[in-house]
Symmetry: C2
Subunit: 333 residues, 2 copies
């Protein structure tokens, strides 16, 4: 490799709708090499995630500090070790870590995970990285599912929602997914085995939701926010659990729409619990132990939406917020 490209955050979004290539600068750097204790990683796949909006916009309540201006954009990636001066790694190793938006990363190995060399890297980013960990933590540890219960998952064709729904099917729940297109509705029912789908853009979405949940809703796995939220709450059973994982429909709005009134929270004794995966990274091993058998048993399908090259990372991030991505969004370098 003679020199490499990386992407810097050149300016912060003025508003949360202001996501595009003008925020970034692609810089060509001279080749650098690993020093004692370090590894050099040629990055091949970068994950694009909704959390990136929070990393770009300063927000004192965020759970992780923002990316500094004119420094490399943060991101999870997979790559190949091309040089190692760290005894824990060897040239040729397949590794996953927060390498950022770059073709070449130098790392001291902290927080870098070795993967099996023959792993499908698109699958690894789609299932074994943030989406799978998040889905597993949220579904099992926050949702506390029981066989025979009904779960409603919003963003059901998304990277987290699609895994939650499939885990729930495997655990014997009735699974209804909320999506934003007929194509996604067909995919989650026909390919992933969901029991039903609601297109939230349809005029009859609330009625459809009601028809599909004749025994009410025990778990509401919320990835999106949006107007259907109130209707799901209306359908919930006593002692229902609401797992608040994402609010992507509202992240970009200047004035997030209000949430449901809390009277049903009392009457139905609901628990509404927010979580973010960084709080639980110390449980990664246990979560992967829980998730892996489902994957090996063929219970978890995925689809990857692959953009090519760093140039497309900077313009493609907005797909997450328009809902135009089909499957886990990532960049192949």
């Amino acid at each position: 490799m003679s020199g490499y490209k990386e992407v810097l955050l050149a300016q912060r979004p003025e508003t949360s709708r202001d996501i595009g290539s003008h925020l970034f600068e692609i810089r060509k750097n001279e080749e650098i090499s690993a020093q004692q204790g370090q590894i050099a990683v040629q990055v091949t796949h970068l994950s694009l995630d909704p959390a990136m909006l929070g990393w770009m916009m300063p927000d004192e309540t965020s759970y992780i500090p923002p990316v500094a201006l004119n420094s490399r954009m943060r991101g999870l990636g997979i790559g190949t070790v091309i040089d190692s001066k760290n005894e824990a790694f060897q040239e040729g190793d397949t590794v996953m870590g927060m390498f950022g938006w770059t073709e070449l990363a130098i790392s001291d190995g902290q927080g870098v995970t070795k993967l099996s060399s023959d792993i499908n890297r698109e699958m690894a980013l789609s299932i074994f990285a943030l989406p799978g960990l998040t889905a597993t933590q949220g579904f099992f540890n926050v949702g506390k599912p029981k066989q025979g219960e009904t779960i409603v998952v919003t963003g059901a064709a998304g990277s987290v929602g699609s895994i939650v729904g499939q885990l729930a099917k495997a655990e014997g729940l009735r699974v209804i997914g909320v999506v934003g297109s007929e194509e996604k509705a067909n995919w989650i029912v026909d390919q992933l085995g969901f029991d039903g789908a609601v297109n939230y853009k349809s005029d009859t979405a609330a009625k459809r939701l009601e028809e599909l949940t004749p025994d009410g809703v025990d778990i509401f796995f919320e990835n999106t926010g949006g107007a259907l939220q109130q209707h799901v709450i209306d359908q919930m059973n006593a002692h229902g659990r609401v797992v608040v994982c994402g609010m992507i429909a509202d992240y970009q709005s200047e004035t997030p729409r209000p949430g449901p009134n809390w009277i049903p929270v009392i009457k139905k004794r609901l628990t509404i619990q927010g979580f973010t995966m960084p709080d639980h990274f110390d449980q990664t091993e246990q979560l992967l132990e829980k998730l892996t058998p489902y994957v090996l048993g063929g219970k978890i399908q995925y689809r990857a939406h692959v953009l090519k090259g760093l140039e497309n990372a900077v313009s493609g991030l907005s797909l997450l917020f328009t809902g135009e991505n089909r499957g886990k969004l990532m960049v192949e370098l």
Copy 2:
């Protein structure tokens, strides 16, 4: 006693604002006596509680079936056993139970608790009945308090809120109460030892809340609902707990005002949990064991707002919803 009066629910409220004496009928009955296995109780004190609204209005999501039309209004009371054909009770015993709105009750003893004969009955209804159980369950088991944390309690001069705040002070928390008048603000600070009070009717309530919680809010004990809710959520710290115990400001509104958007629920990893005491009646003994030492240690003060006679029960219930009651509302017969 020659004959006795009881109150029947004569019609259901047309709307939740329609609470008044026209809903009830006071009937004079012939004296009745205890049969084998029964006790006759002369009721001396009746508790008036917000939950009564839910008992009068049919609502399929309610946790307890409504009172049937033309039958005795449901309610918790304290009285004296005047005749016993049940070996568990003796004439002269002081007893508490769901006797309903009546001067004389016949009971098989199920769900009837014997109290110490020298107990102050106003105190018993104010602390050892629903308010104290609810406060103890909600504060300790849902709120999960830690010494040094900050709690905000709404309805802080009310029967539950005043106990929650005093338990929290005794446990070493910083305690801020939200009330609806200056008189109540003074009472909770000067008499109950709260660290501060916010009058939600003041124009500067949100600013005052912020000033009084410089280290943020760890526990939000919500008894009322209302516009300040959003501001408390804004002040909450990461991993904060919201105990949703009452929404009295919204029980009477035709269109309950919306709640907070859930973005902070994720960012701050909040848990919002609703509970109602009937789910936990099997833990009454443990809850009283927890509460009693605080009462014996002089940590829990109360005030009772006592109406006289059944005639005042039917007209006085609405005081709970206008916030005009001062202390635990009850009727002395």
